[in-house]
Symmetry: C2
Subunit: 340 residues, 2 copies
């Protein structure tokens, strides 16, 4: 086998506030020969996700920081192009954590490192979206924390995104009213017309908690029973003002504070007054629910009942700009980078 | 039976900020004759509790506002002095919600309105404290929300009070480390020496989150796994900075915001980073656990294993001042008013 050059994007410096393209560097590394048990994967798509921003910082967080001068970590789907492992053969489609690089050389005998996937009814890229980590994230918060009863109202921020779109559609499957928050008229139209939410609020039209809270009151005439939080800040404050007794907040992301801005919760006494439950979670710590979640999500995607949208950047070199755009909400649906 | 004059304290105006004695008025009302099913109780002790402050406001809260120009609502213990109800006889000791008045005339056939209590091993007043609503409040938050494992660390604010003292002692019974927060050296000494907490921090010695957080770090070398919140504001912020992964906060009271001051939570992103669970609760909405809780609490009090302290004001007319003092932390232990 001729030597293959692996292109990868490394983190070379940490952002002090907003990250910039200079924090990243494209490098080429030679791939060593395949050892026993190893599999060589050609990555077809990289997943770009908001959680990666948190890992770029060095401070205390729920995950180890992304190491400097190493390939950016992240989920990938691809195809096996060489194998010294009996469980994988050339041509197998796989999902793994290949990172921001064209190739992944991996010891596939470690459990969970590489999963074969069936692309008969589900496109390969969907395993990075609704049938992957973002989908299970939405499933967990909706099913295990919010757990809506039929007729209740569920609100989700970043509603057109990879996670939010799943939350609202699952809420509808459970018989609840689904109300989204998204940035811009296009996204809101998509959330209602394509994803089937009952309503969607363009948060960019509201510059104060009062204004946003009034819009939520109109969209949620019976109040809010569950909220899936991807954003934080003013949106959380406005939602809490409309929260019903015994409402639940699944706290999944607080992207508004990723660059270090203070994002206080204005009125935590509402947690008491409304006997609310607020729970933060990270889906990788709940691997026990993944099979159940993926079974439901895969079935819904295969039968066309769970819709999703992708923003696809072309080529590895485009990954940093696509990631910075994601942090600013420039993507529309799941942000991917196509490598093949 | 000669006519009995019932003295009562009514709420005659609502506070705009801090309540004052002018919000209350002592009035005398004649008691009507006893009807079928009714019981006349001579109240021995009134219970004064922080939640009453919330009910003095007219705004949205978890409970109906205290009506104006009516007797202040509240828990009482006393003795039956006349009965037209087969289930109660003169001399029975009872706990009920008799309000701020010397006598309570009540239809005792309604379930739960009046409970006979046994004072053989448990003093009558304890049914307003560790074997009553405050005790069950502490029991619920500790057992059902914080649910500490042996070796974990539980922190409680207002630790010398009726609720906080139960929380810490129950945490010790469960094998956890108990750390209190209280105002002043006397209360802290009591919390450690009498109640048996492992440590207690005098929050009055700390004027900044940073300083209080450093004190918490010293008192909780393994971090904080559970926090029972009675206060809010700066104390909550400081605790959250020391919260461990998967820690739980039982939100029971936020007395620092009762007069309308803003009490923002500075860093709600810690809920996500530490995968915390925060839950507000009101013990009267969990009547199903009261029998289990009272069985444990009664057993611990009767055998001297659960210690408590009372601040007793003398006579009905002293109730308003005692209540205003309670809101400022002037009480030491459960605040009662003795009427007999």
């Amino acid at each position: 086998m001729t030597a293959i050059v692996n292109s990868q994007i490394q983190l070379v410096s940490r952002p002090t506030a907003e990250p910039t393209p200079d924090n990243f560097k494209l490098v080429e590394v030679a791939l060593p020969a395949l050892q026993d048990g190893q599999v060589l994967v050609r990555n077809h798509y990289l997943s770009l996700d908001p959680y990666m921003r948190g890992r770029m910082n060095d401070g205390k967080s729920y995950a180890q920081p992304q190491p400097l001068n190493e390939v950016m970590l992240g989920g990938t789907v691809g195809e096996v192009i060489a194998s010294n492992n009996a469980s994988f053969k050339v041509g197998d489609k796989v999902v793994g954590r290949g990172g921001w690089q064209t190739h992944q050389l991996v010891d596939a005998s470690q459990r969970g490192v590489l999963q074969k996937v069936d692309t008969t009814h589900i496109p390969l890229s969907a395993y990075l979206g609704p049938v992957g980590m973002p989908g299970v994230t939405g499933w967990y918060g909706l099913s295990k924390i919010i757990n809506p009863k039929a007729g209740e109202t569920v609100v989700v921020s970043a509603a057109s995104g990879a996670v939010g779109s799943v939350v609202g559609q699952l809420a509808k499957v459970r018989g609840a009213r689904a109300v989204g928050l998204a940035g811009g008229a296009d996204k809101c139209r998509y959330v209602i017309d394509e994803l089937g939410f009952d309503d969607c609020i363009d948060y960019k039209e509201h510059s104060s908690v009062k204004s946003l809270s009034a819009a939520l009151k109109a969209a949620c005439p019976n109040g809010i029973d569950g909220y899936f939080e991807n954003v934080g800040g003013m949106i959380l404050d406005a939602v809490m003002l409309r929260a019903n007794a015994f409402s639940r907040i699944a706290m999944c992301g607080m992207i508004s504070g990723y660059n270090g801005e203070p994002i206080p919760m204005s009125a935590p006494q509402l947690i008491l007054m409304n006997r609310m439950k607020i729970e933060g979670f990270i889906v990788s710590e709940h691997m026990d629910v993944w099979p159940e979640a993926l079974t439901e999500l895969g079935g819904l995607v295969a039968t066309g009942k769970l819709k999703y949208r992708e923003s696809v950047a072309q080529g590895l070199a485009a990954a940093p700009e696509a990631f910075l755009g994601l942090l600013k909400g420039k993507n529309f649906g799941k942000q991917l980078v196509k490598l093949v």
